[in-house]
């Protein structure tokens, strides 16, 4: 294809036409922890969109008075909502831990494969342990 033809296609939106595989192309990559932490980081970030809505609704309920706050808290304490809240808390703890890992990478530290694999497992564990600690503080303390 001529260069002019390619440019003409680009103007219509290259991604709609190209059949090239998308990175990281899940079908051909063997799962490894650094790839999983990258995917989890994006997924947990998307999940925190719901978390932002839950937090905003909580502050709005607080501003709306004791009845609204009580009704919202009762709603949040239903079994399904508690499960969702635990998921959001896990996503927040994981995204925070892996975000710090990303900041270290931005500073040029921790790129060694052995180190990045170890810190990858550490962020997954931090997400799970952090969520359990938050729920323990919320319901046991």
């Amino acid at each position: 294809m001529s260069q002019a033809g390619y440019l003409g296609m680009s103007m219509a939106g290259p991604q709609a036409h190209d059949k090239r595989p998308l990175s990281p192309h899940l079908q051909v990559w063997r799962w490894h922890v650094t790839m999983a932490t990258s995917i989890f980081h994006r997924a947990s970030g998307v999940a925190l969109y719901l978390g932002a809505m839950v937090l905003t609704a909580w502050v709005m309920a607080l501003a709306s008075g004791p009845e609204a706050y009580g009704a919202y808290m009762a709603f949040l304490m239903s079994p399904l909502c508690l499960l969702i809240l635990f998921g959001i808390t896990t996503a927040a703890c994981y995204h925070l831990a892996n975000g710090i890992r990303h900041l270290a990478w931005d500073a040029g530290k921790g790129f060694d494969p052995k180190v990045s694999t170890a810190t990858g497992w550490a962020t997954i564990i931090a997400g799970a342990v952090g969520a359990v600690l938050v729920f323990a503080l919320a319901f046991l303390a």
Binding site: A4, L7, M11, A16, R42, L48, V59, M60, D106, V134
Partner: protein, 128 residues
Amino acid sequence: MTHSLRTPLSRARGLGSAKHGVGHFIQQRATAIFLTVLLPWFALSVLLGTDGSYDSVIGWMKHPLNAAGTALLVLTGLFHMRLGIQVVIEDYITGPVARTVSLLANTAIPAILAVSAILSVAKVFVGA
């Protein structure tokens, strides 16, 4: 293609970088750094400083430091969220209409959440 009257330069114009990439990158990291402090502070402060009841949370929010910190967390978090979800939309949603609608929604939703949360914090902080 070879019969076009447009010059190669004319066809290439407008297809380059929007020149917003570095600003996006830096804003994403700057908000991330602030959130590593704000989010743990907020979670621990609410969990340890209140029992979750209406009266105790109202009392907590009436403290200037707590009201300011909550407002900062909401603003910083929603700014960071908008930048992150923008990249996800640009990566996966390729249809021009769906992409435009998603990007507009990704501006409107954080703005609505931010205004709602800030007004609520202000009302509790000032209010009776």
